[in-house]
Amino acid sequence: MKPARVIAYLGLIALGIIGAAPFLYLAILSTKKRIEIVAQVPPTLNFSWAQITKNYSEVLFSQGMLSFTLNSIIVVGLSTLIALVIGTPAAYAFSRLKFAGSDRMASTILSMRFMPPIAVAIPLFLTVKAIGLTNSYAGLILPYVSFSLPLVVWILIGFFDEVPQEIDEAAMIDGATRIQTLWRVILPIVRPGMVTAALFGALFTWNEFLVALYVIDSRALQTISLGAATLVSAQRPIDWNIAATVGVVTVVPILIFSLFIQRYIVRGLTAGAVK
């Protein structure tokens, strides 16, 4: 092997370490006693099963991260579903039915992704409060739909644009209406696009916590990012073994999720997604 090639491979390994080591470190800390973290530098790799069980049961059950995760799945799942149901027809209309101002309208929708969170969080909170939905799933789902909707529409416009117009036209010549064409002919073609849009819409709201901070007071209804935020805030000193365990518990669902997302990530990102 040429020396240049060797250096390139060393660089590749270094990159892998830079990317993965912080997570591994977090995982190791999550197996330790509080004092061990301070006393063992660097941390040793002799794991005690009892301590691991203790940390994780503390975080998952006593601190409630397991129910926070379930809350997140419900809130993010439902809001993504609603965003998809509302957003897909809109994206199709933007792609196919060009009318005066449709391009401007589409870019206005994209620009909503650029809003500073606090600009909408306070009014959304006051609105949710006024209709009496604080401390409920609905109080989070309603705002979250509006967060993932611009993303969903934007990603799907790209996918609809790739389907040749002739396909719609053929269906319509055969007597289908626009809506029948969309439902029966085009939707099956853009299914990967809908998966991409759903995944990125979900990710966007999965990590959200400002609106949740306002809307949810009850511990029982906290989402995973809100739960993590309240458990590990930089405001106060923390138990590092518990903080690390909280970290691992939030990383694991995303890790599983990322295995599914691999195929779609380039499409999603280039359409202006993530966070």
Partner: protein, 306 residues
Amino acid sequence: MSAVSAARQPVAVIEGRDRPALTAWLLLGPCVLYLVAFSIYPLFYSLRLSFTDLTAATGTGNFVGLANYYTLLTDPLFWNAAMNSAIMVTAAVALQVVLGVALALFFDLDLKGAWIVRGILLLPMLITPIVVGVMWRALLNPDWGMVDWTISAIGLTPPDWLGSVGMAMVTLILVDTWQWTPFVFIIVFARLQGLPREIFEAAEVDGAGPIVKFRRVVLPMLMPAIVFAAVFRAVDAFRSFDLIYGLSYGGPARGTTTLAFFSFQNGFQFQNYGYAAAVAYSMLIIIAVGTTILLRYVQLRPGQAR
């Protein structure tokens, strides 16, 4: 061409029967109404709030006109935050663009097993930013963190990462770079992979060395993707506060309090809704002006960066 227009003819007739305006509104209506109710209305609500002195404690705000904006412009904390935002966004985006392009070129070498490392590099940007902040707080802990231990082990003195005002900003920029360089990389890499290779070969045949080839041929063709990634990164770095929430909580001595974090503190910690809305609106104006100027030079279309 004529075949296409011939095919379009009958559709226009069908559309006429189908009442396209009605169809358009059926398709668009729910989405537009939803966004008006939950995005545009809140935005106007926020504007109205920024003219009041509403706090969580008072409950009802009085109209105070431009007083919040006046306070803002004379508030040294606001200018401190604006300065921090400017430094953070500029440095982080510049660093991430340079590293992201370098990574794209590196992965273009097509090394064996590179896909594994690429998969690892995707992970940081998917993780909840607060957790990223906390994770790095552990790594950089002066007493037992692994980074400090490693630096000491090779005989150097680790910097006071999060303890001093200037260094905390550097640390924030570095952590943001760790998390988001892959975003720039993925977008630039996708563009690079899609470019026709013959052009590079032609440049080599014409005697261009690697540096000239990169500057004159590769870089200009990557530019749309680079600008696209940079715009998104700049806006997100400007408006996000959650990494700071986990990493430094704006400190020490407000050294990492950016405008986004400042607005969060006023709006949530101090429950000063009117003032927070004014800060948020000033950010909105900065984003609007910034992106309008940028978009004069580039157009963002779906799939354009590919």
